[in-house]
Subunit: 316 residues, 2 copies
Protein backbone atom coordinates (compact mmCIF):
# COMPACT_ATOMS: atom_id res chain seq x y z
CA UNK A 1 0.00 0.00 0.00
CA UNK A 2 2.48 2.62 -1.16
CA UNK A 3 -0.33 5.14 -1.77
CA UNK A 4 -1.83 4.49 1.65
CA UNK A 5 1.49 5.39 3.23
CA UNK A 6 1.73 8.83 1.56
CA UNK A 7 2.19 11.59 4.12
CA UNK A 8 -0.25 14.52 4.32
CA UNK A 9 2.53 16.69 2.88
CA UNK A 10 3.06 14.34 -0.10
CA UNK A 11 -0.66 14.19 -0.76
CA UNK A 12 -0.95 17.97 -0.66
CA UNK A 13 1.92 18.32 -3.15
CA UNK A 14 -0.06 16.09 -5.52
CA UNK A 15 -3.19 18.21 -4.93
CA UNK A 16 -1.27 21.34 -5.94
CA UNK A 17 -0.16 19.44 -9.07
CA UNK A 18 -3.81 18.88 -9.92
CA UNK A 19 -4.41 15.28 -8.80
CA UNK A 20 -8.10 14.89 -7.99
CA UNK A 21 -7.82 11.55 -6.20
CA UNK A 22 -5.32 13.11 -3.79
CA UNK A 23 -7.63 16.10 -3.35
CA UNK A 24 -10.41 13.80 -2.18
CA UNK A 25 -8.04 12.06 0.22
CA UNK A 26 -6.69 15.30 1.68
CA UNK A 27 -10.23 16.57 2.25
CA UNK A 28 -10.98 13.34 4.12
CA UNK A 29 -7.98 14.03 6.36
CA UNK A 30 -9.23 17.56 7.03
CA UNK A 31 -12.70 16.21 7.76
CA UNK A 32 -11.40 13.75 10.36
CA UNK A 33 -9.28 16.38 12.12
CA UNK A 34 -6.38 15.75 14.46
CA UNK A 35 -2.70 15.70 13.59
CA UNK A 36 -3.01 14.79 9.87
CA UNK A 37 -5.43 17.71 9.34
CA UNK A 38 -3.00 20.05 11.06
CA UNK A 39 -0.11 18.75 8.98
CA UNK A 40 -2.17 19.65 5.88
CA UNK A 41 -2.88 23.13 7.24
CA UNK A 42 0.79 23.77 7.94
CA UNK A 43 1.95 22.39 4.60
CA UNK A 44 -0.49 24.70 2.78
CA UNK A 45 1.54 27.60 4.11
CA UNK A 46 -0.73 30.27 2.68
CA UNK A 47 -1.23 28.72 -0.76
CA UNK A 48 -4.97 28.40 -0.21
CA UNK A 49 -5.81 32.10 -0.14
CA UNK A 50 -6.13 32.63 -3.89
CA UNK A 51 -9.69 31.43 -4.44
CA UNK A 52 -12.62 33.78 -3.97
CA UNK A 53 -15.13 32.14 -1.64
CA UNK A 54 -18.91 32.41 -1.83
CA UNK A 55 -21.19 31.13 0.95
CA UNK A 56 -24.65 29.88 -0.01
CA UNK A 57 -27.10 29.33 2.80
CA UNK A 58 -30.81 29.45 3.57
CA UNK A 59 -33.57 27.29 4.98
CA UNK A 60 -33.87 23.61 4.00
CA UNK A 61 -35.82 23.21 0.77
CA UNK A 62 -35.12 26.78 -0.42
CA UNK A 63 -33.35 25.37 -3.49
CA UNK A 64 -29.72 25.94 -2.54
CA UNK A 65 -28.40 22.84 -4.33
CA UNK A 66 -30.29 23.69 -7.50
CA UNK A 67 -28.99 27.26 -7.39
CA UNK A 68 -25.46 26.04 -6.75
CA UNK A 69 -25.69 23.66 -9.68
CA UNK A 70 -26.97 26.46 -11.93
CA UNK A 71 -24.20 28.79 -10.72
CA UNK A 72 -21.63 26.17 -11.74
CA UNK A 73 -22.93 26.43 -15.31
CA UNK A 74 -22.51 30.21 -15.24
CA UNK A 75 -18.97 29.97 -13.91
CA UNK A 76 -18.07 27.31 -16.46
CA UNK A 77 -19.49 29.41 -19.29
CA UNK A 78 -16.95 32.07 -18.25
CA UNK A 79 -14.29 29.35 -18.45
CA UNK A 80 -13.34 29.51 -14.79
CA UNK A 81 -12.68 26.67 -12.36
CA UNK A 82 -15.07 26.12 -9.47
CA UNK A 83 -15.20 23.88 -6.41
CA UNK A 84 -18.23 23.30 -4.19
CA UNK A 85 -18.03 22.37 -0.54
CA UNK A 86 -21.44 21.22 0.68
CA UNK A 87 -21.42 21.42 4.45
CA UNK A 88 -23.69 18.85 5.95
CA UNK A 89 -24.60 17.98 9.49
CA UNK A 90 -23.63 14.36 9.87
CA UNK A 91 -23.92 11.33 11.99
CA UNK A 92 -21.37 8.81 13.21
CA UNK A 93 -23.92 6.23 12.11
CA UNK A 94 -24.10 7.28 8.46
CA UNK A 95 -20.50 8.36 8.28
CA UNK A 96 -21.79 11.36 6.37
CA UNK A 97 -22.45 9.19 3.35
CA UNK A 98 -26.06 10.18 2.68
CA UNK A 99 -25.61 12.51 -0.22
CA UNK A 100 -29.21 12.75 -1.40
CA UNK A 101 -29.53 15.97 -3.33
CA UNK A 102 -25.84 15.90 -4.33
CA UNK A 103 -26.88 13.40 -6.97
CA UNK A 104 -28.24 16.21 -9.11
CA UNK A 105 -24.75 17.57 -9.46
CA UNK A 106 -23.76 14.44 -11.36
CA UNK A 107 -23.95 16.51 -14.60
CA UNK A 108 -20.58 17.99 -13.77
CA UNK A 109 -18.90 14.71 -12.88
CA UNK A 110 -16.84 14.58 -16.07
CA UNK A 111 -15.77 18.23 -16.03
CA UNK A 112 -12.22 18.56 -14.73
CA UNK A 113 -12.70 22.23 -13.84
CA UNK A 114 -15.53 21.38 -11.41
CA UNK A 115 -15.09 19.63 -8.08
CA UNK A 116 -17.94 18.89 -5.68
CA UNK A 117 -17.59 17.55 -2.21
CA UNK A 118 -19.94 16.98 0.72
CA UNK A 119 -18.39 17.56 4.07
CA UNK A 120 -19.77 16.03 7.22
CA UNK A 121 -17.93 16.13 10.47
CA UNK A 122 -18.82 15.78 14.10
CA UNK A 123 -17.14 14.70 17.21
CA UNK A 124 -13.69 16.05 16.48
CA UNK A 125 -12.58 19.08 18.42
CA UNK A 126 -13.79 22.23 16.73
CA UNK A 127 -16.06 20.39 14.29
CA UNK A 128 -17.23 22.06 11.11
CA UNK A 129 -16.29 25.54 12.29
CA UNK A 130 -12.63 24.52 12.12
CA UNK A 131 -12.70 21.93 9.33
CA UNK A 132 -14.67 23.95 6.75
CA UNK A 133 -12.22 26.86 6.39
CA UNK A 134 -9.34 24.37 6.20
CA UNK A 135 -11.12 22.45 3.44
CA UNK A 136 -11.80 25.70 1.59
CA UNK A 137 -8.11 26.51 1.73
CA UNK A 138 -7.18 23.07 0.35
CA UNK A 139 -9.59 23.66 -2.54
CA UNK A 140 -7.97 27.06 -3.12
CA UNK A 141 -4.55 25.42 -3.29
CA UNK A 142 -5.85 23.08 -6.01
CA UNK A 143 -6.23 26.04 -8.34
CA UNK A 144 -9.97 26.66 -8.30
CA UNK A 145 -10.87 30.29 -9.01
CA UNK A 146 -14.06 30.03 -6.98
CA UNK A 147 -15.02 27.98 -3.96
CA UNK A 148 -18.75 27.83 -3.22
CA UNK A 149 -19.58 26.84 0.36
CA UNK A 150 -23.14 25.56 0.52
CA UNK A 151 -24.74 24.67 3.85
CA UNK A 152 -27.58 22.21 4.24
CA UNK A 153 -29.18 23.68 7.38
CA UNK A 154 -29.32 27.00 9.17
CA UNK A 155 -28.14 25.85 12.59
CA UNK A 156 -25.71 28.01 14.56
CA UNK A 157 -22.59 26.37 13.13
CA UNK A 158 -23.89 26.26 9.56
CA UNK A 159 -24.66 29.99 9.61
CA UNK A 160 -21.22 30.67 11.05
CA UNK A 161 -19.54 28.61 8.32
CA UNK A 162 -21.54 30.29 5.54
CA UNK A 163 -20.55 33.68 6.94
CA UNK A 164 -16.84 32.78 6.84
CA UNK A 165 -16.64 33.56 3.12
CA UNK A 166 -15.85 36.55 0.91
CA UNK A 167 -19.45 36.96 -0.28
CA UNK A 168 -22.41 35.34 1.43
CA UNK A 169 -25.57 34.56 -0.55
CA UNK A 170 -28.77 33.85 1.40
CA UNK A 171 -31.55 31.97 -0.40
CA UNK A 172 -35.19 32.29 0.62
CA UNK A 173 -38.53 31.58 -1.05
CA UNK A 174 -41.65 33.67 -1.60
CA UNK A 175 -43.66 34.15 1.57
CA UNK A 176 -43.18 36.36 4.59
CA UNK A 177 -42.66 33.29 6.80
CA UNK A 178 -39.29 32.79 5.22
CA UNK A 179 -38.12 36.33 5.90
CA UNK A 180 -39.03 35.82 9.56
CA UNK A 181 -37.22 32.49 9.60
CA UNK A 182 -34.18 34.14 8.03
CA UNK A 183 -34.17 36.82 10.71
CA UNK A 184 -34.55 34.18 13.44
CA UNK A 185 -31.62 32.20 12.11
CA UNK A 186 -29.38 35.29 12.06
CA UNK A 187 -29.17 35.36 8.26
CA UNK A 188 -29.86 39.10 7.88
CA UNK A 189 -26.49 40.00 9.35
CA UNK A 190 -24.47 37.73 7.09
CA UNK A 191 -26.22 38.29 3.74
CA UNK A 192 -24.27 40.22 1.09
CA UNK A 193 -26.70 39.10 -1.61
CA UNK A 194 -30.27 37.89 -1.11
CA UNK A 195 -31.91 35.47 -3.54
CA UNK A 196 -35.67 34.93 -3.67
CA UNK A 197 -35.74 31.53 -5.35
CA UNK A 198 -38.86 29.82 -6.76
CA UNK A 199 -39.85 33.33 -7.87
CA UNK A 200 -42.35 31.82 -10.33
CA UNK A 201 -44.56 31.10 -7.31
CA UNK A 202 -47.02 33.68 -5.99
CA UNK A 203 -45.72 36.20 -3.50
CA UNK A 204 -42.22 36.83 -4.90
CA UNK A 205 -42.68 40.60 -5.14
CA UNK A 206 -44.10 40.74 -1.60
CA UNK A 207 -41.22 38.63 -0.30
CA UNK A 208 -38.75 41.00 -1.91
CA UNK A 209 -40.49 44.02 -0.42
CA UNK A 210 -40.59 42.35 3.03
CA UNK A 211 -36.91 41.50 2.86
CA UNK A 212 -36.06 45.03 1.76
CA UNK A 213 -37.91 46.41 4.77
CA UNK A 214 -36.19 44.05 7.21
CA UNK A 215 -32.79 44.71 5.62
CA UNK A 216 -33.26 48.47 5.80
CA UNK A 217 -34.24 48.14 9.46
CA UNK A 218 -31.25 46.00 10.36
CA UNK A 219 -28.69 48.02 8.45
CA UNK A 220 -27.61 45.15 6.16
CA UNK A 221 -24.18 43.55 5.78
CA UNK A 222 -21.83 46.47 5.17
CA UNK A 223 -21.59 50.19 5.71
CA UNK A 224 -21.99 51.32 2.12
CA UNK A 225 -23.11 48.15 0.37
CA UNK A 226 -26.85 47.95 -0.22
CA UNK A 227 -27.65 44.23 -0.20
CA UNK A 228 -29.19 43.38 -3.58
CA UNK A 229 -32.21 41.07 -3.78
CA UNK A 230 -32.28 38.87 -6.87
CA UNK A 231 -35.29 36.79 -7.96
CA UNK A 232 -34.53 33.40 -9.46
CA UNK A 233 -36.16 30.23 -10.67
CA UNK A 234 -33.13 28.06 -10.28
CA UNK A 235 -34.77 24.99 -11.83
CA UNK A 236 -34.93 26.85 -15.17
CA UNK A 237 -31.76 28.88 -14.46
CA UNK A 238 -33.76 32.10 -14.68
CA UNK A 239 -32.05 34.93 -12.83
CA UNK A 240 -29.02 32.81 -11.94
CA UNK A 241 -26.69 34.89 -14.12
CA UNK A 242 -27.97 37.95 -12.21
CA UNK A 243 -27.01 36.30 -8.91
CA UNK A 244 -23.53 35.75 -10.25
CA UNK A 245 -23.36 39.35 -11.48
CA UNK A 246 -24.37 40.56 -7.99
CA UNK A 247 -21.62 38.41 -6.45
CA UNK A 248 -19.16 39.96 -8.90
CA UNK A 249 -20.32 43.48 -8.02
CA UNK A 250 -19.92 42.71 -4.33
CA UNK A 251 -16.43 41.42 -4.99
CA UNK A 252 -15.50 44.53 -6.98
CA UNK A 253 -17.01 46.79 -4.34
CA UNK A 254 -15.09 45.08 -1.53
CA UNK A 255 -11.87 45.00 -3.48
CA UNK A 256 -12.05 48.69 -4.33
CA UNK A 257 -12.92 49.75 -0.78
CA UNK A 258 -10.35 47.52 0.89
CA UNK A 259 -13.18 45.76 2.77
CA UNK A 260 -12.17 42.40 1.32
CA UNK A 261 -8.74 42.45 2.94
CA UNK A 262 -10.26 43.71 6.16
CA UNK A 263 -12.88 40.95 6.09
CA UNK A 264 -10.24 38.31 5.48
CA UNK A 265 -8.09 39.72 8.27
CA UNK A 266 -11.02 39.57 10.68
CA UNK A 267 -11.79 36.03 9.59
CA UNK A 268 -8.17 35.00 10.08
CA UNK A 269 -8.15 36.57 13.55
CA UNK A 270 -11.32 34.65 14.46
CA UNK A 271 -9.82 31.44 13.15
CA UNK A 272 -6.59 31.89 15.10
CA UNK A 273 -8.60 32.57 18.27
CA UNK A 274 -10.61 29.40 17.66
CA UNK A 275 -7.45 27.33 17.18
CA UNK A 276 -5.86 28.82 20.30
CA UNK A 277 -8.99 27.71 22.14
CA UNK A 278 -8.69 24.20 20.74
CA UNK A 279 -5.05 23.93 21.73
CA UNK A 280 -5.96 25.01 25.25
CA UNK A 281 -8.90 22.65 25.34
CA UNK A 282 -6.60 19.79 24.43
CA UNK A 283 -4.38 20.76 27.34
CA UNK A 284 -7.47 20.96 29.50
CA UNK A 285 -8.54 17.47 28.51
CA UNK A 286 -5.55 16.10 30.37
CA UNK A 287 -6.72 18.05 33.44
CA UNK A 288 -10.33 16.92 33.08
CA UNK A 289 -9.62 13.23 32.61
CA UNK A 290 -8.09 12.51 36.01
CA UNK A 291 -9.64 10.98 39.14
CA UNK A 292 -10.45 14.33 40.70
CA UNK A 293 -12.32 15.31 37.53
CA UNK A 294 -14.46 12.17 37.81
CA UNK A 295 -15.21 12.96 41.47
CA UNK A 296 -16.23 16.49 40.56
CA UNK A 297 -18.49 15.30 37.72
CA UNK A 298 -20.13 13.00 40.22
CA UNK A 299 -20.53 15.89 42.68
CA UNK A 300 -22.15 18.08 40.02
CA UNK A 301 -24.51 15.28 38.94
CA UNK A 302 -25.52 14.76 42.60
CA UNK A 303 -26.02 18.50 43.06
CA UNK A 304 -23.22 18.79 45.60
CA UNK A 305 -21.43 21.52 43.67
CA UNK A 306 -21.79 23.59 40.51
CA UNK A 307 -19.89 23.13 37.25
CA UNK A 308 -18.12 26.53 37.31
CA UNK A 309 -16.65 25.82 40.74
CA UNK A 310 -15.60 22.39 39.50
CA UNK A 311 -13.99 23.87 36.37
CA UNK A 312 -12.05 26.42 38.42
CA UNK A 313 -10.83 23.80 40.87
CA UNK A 314 -9.44 21.69 38.03
CA UNK A 315 -7.67 24.69 36.54
CA UNK A 316 -6.19 25.86 39.84
CA UNK B 1 -34.67 51.15 41.22
CA UNK B 2 -34.41 48.87 44.26
CA UNK B 3 -35.49 45.84 42.19
CA UNK B 4 -33.01 46.65 39.45
CA UNK B 5 -30.21 46.61 41.98
CA UNK B 6 -30.97 43.09 43.23
CA UNK B 7 -27.93 40.81 43.00
CA UNK B 8 -28.08 37.54 41.04
CA UNK B 9 -27.96 35.75 44.40
CA UNK B 10 -30.94 37.73 45.76
CA UNK B 11 -32.92 37.11 42.60
CA UNK B 12 -32.21 33.39 42.78
CA UNK B 13 -33.36 33.25 46.38
CA UNK B 14 -36.68 34.73 45.22
CA UNK B 15 -36.85 32.16 42.41
CA UNK B 16 -36.49 29.35 44.93
CA UNK B 17 -39.30 30.98 46.93
CA UNK B 18 -41.51 30.73 43.84
CA UNK B 19 -41.40 34.27 42.43
CA UNK B 20 -42.09 34.05 38.69
CA UNK B 21 -40.98 37.59 37.83
CA UNK B 22 -37.58 36.86 39.38
CA UNK B 23 -37.44 33.57 37.47
CA UNK B 24 -37.82 35.44 34.19
CA UNK B 25 -35.11 37.91 35.20
CA UNK B 26 -32.67 35.20 36.28
CA UNK B 27 -33.18 33.38 32.98
CA UNK B 28 -32.37 36.62 31.16
CA UNK B 29 -29.11 36.82 33.11
CA UNK B 30 -28.27 33.24 32.16
CA UNK B 31 -29.11 33.98 28.54
CA UNK B 32 -26.77 36.98 28.42
CA UNK B 33 -23.89 35.05 29.98
CA UNK B 34 -20.82 36.54 31.66
CA UNK B 35 -20.29 37.16 35.35
CA UNK B 36 -23.97 37.49 36.39
CA UNK B 37 -24.75 34.13 34.75
CA UNK B 38 -21.86 32.54 36.59
CA UNK B 39 -22.97 34.07 39.88
CA UNK B 40 -26.35 32.40 39.33
CA UNK B 41 -24.70 29.05 38.57
CA UNK B 42 -22.61 29.22 41.74
CA UNK B 43 -25.51 30.33 43.90
CA UNK B 44 -27.60 27.39 42.68
CA UNK B 45 -25.09 25.13 44.39
CA UNK B 46 -26.69 21.90 43.21
CA UNK B 47 -30.32 22.86 43.89
CA UNK B 48 -31.20 22.52 40.21
CA UNK B 49 -30.75 18.76 39.88
CA UNK B 50 -34.17 17.70 41.12
CA UNK B 51 -36.20 18.12 37.94
CA UNK B 52 -36.38 15.35 35.35
CA UNK B 53 -35.47 16.79 31.95
CA UNK B 54 -36.96 15.79 28.61
CA UNK B 55 -35.51 16.97 25.29
CA UNK B 56 -37.87 17.40 22.35
CA UNK B 57 -36.29 17.82 18.94
CA UNK B 58 -36.91 17.09 15.26
CA UNK B 59 -37.05 18.86 11.93
CA UNK B 60 -38.77 22.25 11.58
CA UNK B 61 -42.49 21.86 11.03
CA UNK B 62 -42.64 18.37 12.58
CA UNK B 63 -45.05 19.67 15.20
CA UNK B 64 -42.76 19.92 18.23
CA UNK B 65 -44.50 22.96 19.73
CA UNK B 66 -47.92 21.38 19.35
CA UNK B 67 -46.67 18.17 20.93
CA UNK B 68 -45.04 20.10 23.76
CA UNK B 69 -48.25 21.99 24.39
CA UNK B 70 -50.23 18.72 24.45
CA UNK B 71 -47.68 17.14 26.80
CA UNK B 72 -48.18 20.03 29.21
CA UNK B 73 -51.85 19.06 29.44
CA UNK B 74 -50.92 15.47 30.28
CA UNK B 75 -48.45 16.54 32.97
CA UNK B 76 -50.97 18.98 34.43
CA UNK B 77 -53.66 16.28 34.50
CA UNK B 78 -51.28 14.32 36.75
CA UNK B 79 -51.01 17.44 38.93
CA UNK B 80 -47.31 17.95 38.39
CA UNK B 81 -45.40 21.16 37.68
CA UNK B 82 -43.75 21.62 34.32
CA UNK B 83 -41.45 24.17 32.71
CA UNK B 84 -40.63 24.46 29.01
CA UNK B 85 -37.39 25.89 27.66
CA UNK B 86 -37.75 26.52 23.92
CA UNK B 87 -34.25 26.81 22.50
CA UNK B 88 -34.21 29.09 19.51
CA UNK B 89 -31.47 30.22 17.19
CA UNK B 90 -31.48 33.96 17.45
CA UNK B 91 -30.24 37.16 15.99
CA UNK B 92 -28.73 40.26 17.54
CA UNK B 93 -31.13 42.13 15.29
CA UNK B 94 -34.32 40.59 16.66
CA UNK B 95 -32.98 40.20 20.16
CA UNK B 96 -34.58 36.77 20.10
CA UNK B 97 -37.98 38.32 20.47
CA UNK B 98 -39.75 36.60 17.58
CA UNK B 99 -41.79 34.05 19.42
CA UNK B 100 -44.13 32.97 16.64
CA UNK B 101 -45.43 29.55 17.52
CA UNK B 102 -44.99 30.17 21.24
CA UNK B 103 -48.24 32.07 21.02
CA UNK B 104 -50.13 28.79 20.93
CA UNK B 105 -48.94 28.08 24.44
CA UNK B 106 -50.89 31.06 25.69
CA UNK B 107 -53.51 28.60 27.04
CA UNK B 108 -51.23 27.91 29.96
CA UNK B 109 -50.47 31.54 30.72
CA UNK B 110 -52.66 31.63 33.83
CA UNK B 111 -51.52 28.29 35.23
CA UNK B 112 -48.97 28.81 38.02
CA UNK B 113 -47.64 25.28 37.68
CA UNK B 114 -46.60 25.89 34.05
CA UNK B 115 -43.74 28.12 32.92
CA UNK B 116 -42.74 28.61 29.29
CA UNK B 117 -39.68 30.44 28.10
CA UNK B 118 -37.99 30.92 24.74
CA UNK B 119 -34.25 31.11 24.93
CA UNK B 120 -32.17 32.73 22.25
CA UNK B 121 -28.53 33.41 22.73
CA UNK B 122 -25.63 34.08 20.46
CA UNK B 123 -22.38 35.86 20.67
CA UNK B 124 -21.52 35.09 24.27
CA UNK B 125 -18.77 32.60 24.87
CA UNK B 126 -20.15 29.08 24.81
CA UNK B 127 -23.55 30.12 23.45
CA UNK B 128 -26.55 27.86 23.84
CA UNK B 129 -24.47 24.80 24.67
CA UNK B 130 -23.49 26.47 27.95
CA UNK B 131 -26.56 28.61 28.64
CA UNK B 132 -29.24 25.94 28.10
CA UNK B 133 -28.12 23.51 30.83
CA UNK B 134 -27.74 26.46 33.23
CA UNK B 135 -31.27 27.63 32.43
CA UNK B 136 -32.57 24.09 32.94
CA UNK B 137 -30.95 24.03 36.36
CA UNK B 138 -32.54 27.37 37.30
CA UNK B 139 -35.94 25.95 36.32
CA UNK B 140 -35.20 22.89 38.43
CA UNK B 141 -34.45 25.10 41.43
CA UNK B 142 -37.84 26.78 41.00
CA UNK B 143 -39.54 23.52 41.92
CA UNK B 144 -40.72 22.20 38.57
CA UNK B 145 -41.00 18.42 38.50
CA UNK B 146 -40.36 18.33 34.75
CA UNK B 147 -38.36 20.55 32.44
CA UNK B 148 -39.06 20.08 28.73
CA UNK B 149 -36.29 21.36 26.46
CA UNK B 150 -37.67 21.95 22.97
CA UNK B 151 -35.38 22.95 20.11
CA UNK B 152 -36.52 24.83 17.03
CA UNK B 153 -33.98 23.52 14.56
CA UNK B 154 -31.73 20.48 14.16
CA UNK B 155 -28.40 22.26 13.77
CA UNK B 156 -25.31 20.88 15.49
CA UNK B 157 -25.80 22.89 18.68
CA UNK B 158 -29.55 22.30 18.87
CA UNK B 159 -29.08 18.52 18.62
CA UNK B 160 -26.38 18.72 21.29
CA UNK B 161 -28.66 20.67 23.62
CA UNK B 162 -31.60 18.30 23.09
CA UNK B 163 -29.31 15.38 23.87
CA UNK B 164 -28.23 16.94 27.19
CA UNK B 165 -31.41 15.74 28.91
CA UNK B 166 -32.55 12.70 30.86
CA UNK B 167 -34.87 11.46 28.11
CA UNK B 168 -34.69 12.70 24.51
CA UNK B 169 -37.79 12.60 22.31
CA UNK B 170 -37.31 12.94 18.54
CA UNK B 171 -40.31 14.00 16.47
CA UNK B 172 -40.63 13.12 12.78
CA UNK B 173 -43.52 12.97 10.30
CA UNK B 174 -44.77 10.28 7.93
CA UNK B 175 -42.51 9.81 4.91
CA UNK B 176 -39.16 8.13 4.46
CA UNK B 177 -37.53 11.50 3.69
CA UNK B 178 -37.82 12.45 7.32
CA UNK B 179 -36.10 9.32 8.57
CA UNK B 180 -33.20 10.10 6.24
CA UNK B 181 -33.15 13.70 7.47
CA UNK B 182 -33.17 12.46 11.06
CA UNK B 183 -30.22 10.21 10.37
CA UNK B 184 -28.35 13.04 8.62
CA UNK B 185 -28.89 15.36 11.56
CA UNK B 186 -27.53 12.78 14.01
CA UNK B 187 -30.90 12.27 15.70
CA UNK B 188 -30.81 8.46 15.70
CA UNK B 189 -28.07 8.39 18.31
CA UNK B 190 -29.80 10.70 20.75
CA UNK B 191 -33.39 9.40 20.52
CA UNK B 192 -34.72 7.56 23.56
CA UNK B 193 -38.29 7.83 22.27
CA UNK B 194 -39.36 8.40 18.65
CA UNK B 195 -42.63 10.12 17.80
CA UNK B 196 -44.23 9.90 14.36
CA UNK B 197 -46.44 12.98 14.52
CA UNK B 198 -49.18 13.86 12.00
CA UNK B 199 -49.89 10.13 11.98
CA UNK B 200 -53.31 10.80 10.46
CA UNK B 201 -51.50 11.47 7.19
CA UNK B 202 -50.70 8.67 4.75
CA UNK B 203 -47.46 6.78 5.28
CA UNK B 204 -47.35 6.66 9.09
CA UNK B 205 -47.01 2.86 9.24
CA UNK B 206 -44.26 2.93 6.60
CA UNK B 207 -42.45 5.71 8.44
CA UNK B 208 -42.57 3.65 11.63
CA UNK B 209 -41.25 0.56 9.84
CA UNK B 210 -38.47 2.61 8.20
CA UNK B 211 -37.46 4.12 11.52
CA UNK B 212 -37.47 0.72 13.17
CA UNK B 213 -35.13 -0.60 10.49
CA UNK B 214 -32.73 2.35 10.80
CA UNK B 215 -32.83 2.15 14.61
CA UNK B 216 -32.12 -1.58 14.60
CA UNK B 217 -29.20 -0.99 12.25
CA UNK B 218 -27.72 1.77 14.36
CA UNK B 219 -28.14 0.06 17.69
CA UNK B 220 -30.39 2.72 19.21
CA UNK B 221 -29.81 4.90 22.25
CA UNK B 222 -28.94 2.46 25.00
CA UNK B 223 -27.64 -1.06 25.51
CA UNK B 224 -30.84 -2.69 26.66
CA UNK B 225 -33.45 -0.04 25.90
CA UNK B 226 -35.40 -0.65 22.69
CA UNK B 227 -36.36 2.83 21.48
CA UNK B 228 -40.17 2.94 21.30
CA UNK B 229 -41.89 4.58 18.32
CA UNK B 230 -45.16 6.30 19.20
CA UNK B 231 -47.63 7.60 16.61
CA UNK B 232 -49.38 10.86 17.46
CA UNK B 233 -51.69 13.47 16.04
CA UNK B 234 -50.65 16.23 18.38
CA UNK B 235 -53.25 18.70 17.10
CA UNK B 236 -55.99 16.43 18.49
CA UNK B 237 -53.80 15.14 21.36
CA UNK B 238 -54.12 11.60 20.02
CA UNK B 239 -51.26 9.41 21.20
CA UNK B 240 -49.77 12.15 23.37
CA UNK B 241 -50.50 10.27 26.62
CA UNK B 242 -48.64 7.31 25.07
CA UNK B 243 -45.60 9.53 24.47
CA UNK B 244 -45.66 10.55 28.09
CA UNK B 245 -46.03 6.91 29.17
CA UNK B 246 -42.98 6.02 27.05
CA UNK B 247 -41.00 8.82 28.70
CA UNK B 248 -42.04 7.45 32.09
CA UNK B 249 -40.99 3.92 31.14
CA UNK B 250 -37.62 5.23 29.98
CA UNK B 251 -37.20 7.07 33.26
CA UNK B 252 -38.07 3.96 35.27
CA UNK B 253 -35.78 1.82 33.14
CA UNK B 254 -32.85 4.21 33.58
CA UNK B 255 -33.47 4.66 37.28
CA UNK B 256 -33.60 0.90 37.92
CA UNK B 257 -30.47 0.17 35.86
CA UNK B 258 -28.43 3.06 37.27
CA UNK B 259 -28.09 4.46 33.73
CA UNK B 260 -29.70 7.75 34.80
CA UNK B 261 -26.98 8.56 37.32
CA UNK B 262 -24.35 7.46 34.83
CA UNK B 263 -25.91 9.65 32.12
CA UNK B 264 -26.01 12.65 34.45
CA UNK B 265 -22.42 12.07 35.51
CA UNK B 266 -21.31 11.94 31.86
CA UNK B 267 -23.28 15.10 31.14
CA UNK B 268 -21.71 16.88 34.13
CA UNK B 269 -18.25 15.80 32.99
CA UNK B 270 -18.93 17.18 29.50
CA UNK B 271 -20.20 20.41 30.98
CA UNK B 272 -17.17 20.86 33.23
CA UNK B 273 -14.88 20.22 30.26
CA UNK B 274 -16.77 22.83 28.25
CA UNK B 275 -16.47 25.39 31.06
CA UNK B 276 -12.77 24.67 31.50
CA UNK B 277 -12.43 25.37 27.78
CA UNK B 278 -14.27 28.66 28.15
CA UNK B 279 -12.11 29.76 31.05
CA UNK B 280 -9.01 29.00 29.00
CA UNK B 281 -10.46 30.73 25.97
CA UNK B 282 -11.01 33.83 28.06
CA UNK B 283 -7.38 33.72 29.07
CA UNK B 284 -6.49 33.20 25.43
CA UNK B 285 -8.46 36.27 24.38
CA UNK B 286 -5.95 38.42 26.19
CA UNK B 287 -3.21 36.69 24.20
CA UNK B 288 -5.04 37.02 20.90
CA UNK B 289 -5.94 40.68 21.23
CA UNK B 290 -2.42 42.12 21.22
CA UNK B 291 -0.43 43.71 18.40
CA UNK B 292 1.38 40.49 17.49
CA UNK B 293 -2.01 38.77 17.13
CA UNK B 294 -3.11 41.45 14.65
CA UNK B 295 0.11 41.00 12.68
CA UNK B 296 -0.40 37.25 12.55
CA UNK B 297 -4.03 37.61 11.42
CA UNK B 298 -2.79 39.83 8.65
CA UNK B 299 -0.14 37.26 7.71
CA UNK B 300 -2.74 34.48 7.56
CA UNK B 301 -5.08 36.61 5.45
CA UNK B 302 -2.22 37.37 3.03
CA UNK B 303 -1.27 33.69 2.88
CA UNK B 304 2.11 34.28 4.51
CA UNK B 305 1.51 31.73 7.25
CA UNK B 306 -1.11 29.24 8.42
CA UNK B 307 -3.48 29.64 11.37
CA UNK B 308 -2.13 26.70 13.40
CA UNK B 309 1.38 28.12 13.32
CA UNK B 310 -0.03 31.50 14.31
CA UNK B 311 -2.02 29.97 17.19
CA UNK B 312 1.03 28.13 18.48
CA UNK B 313 3.21 31.23 18.32
CA UNK B 314 0.71 33.19 20.41
CA UNK B 315 0.58 30.43 23.00
CA UNK B 316 4.35 30.00 23.24
Amino acid sequence: MARGAASPEDLLARVIDGDRASLARVLSLVERGGDPARAVARALDGRGEKAYTVGITGSPGAGKSTLTSALIEVVRAADQRVAVLAVDPSSPFTGGAILGDRVRMGDHALDDAVFIRSMATRGHLGGLAVAAPEAVRVLGSAGFDWVLVETVGVGQVEVEVAGQTDTTVVVVNPGWGDAVQAAKAGLMEIADVFVVNKADRPGAAEAEADLRRVLDLSGGAGEDWRVPIVRTTATSAEGVADVWAAVGRHRDHQTASGDLQERRRRRAADEITRLVGIRLLEQARAVTSGDRAAELADAVARGATDPWTAADELLA
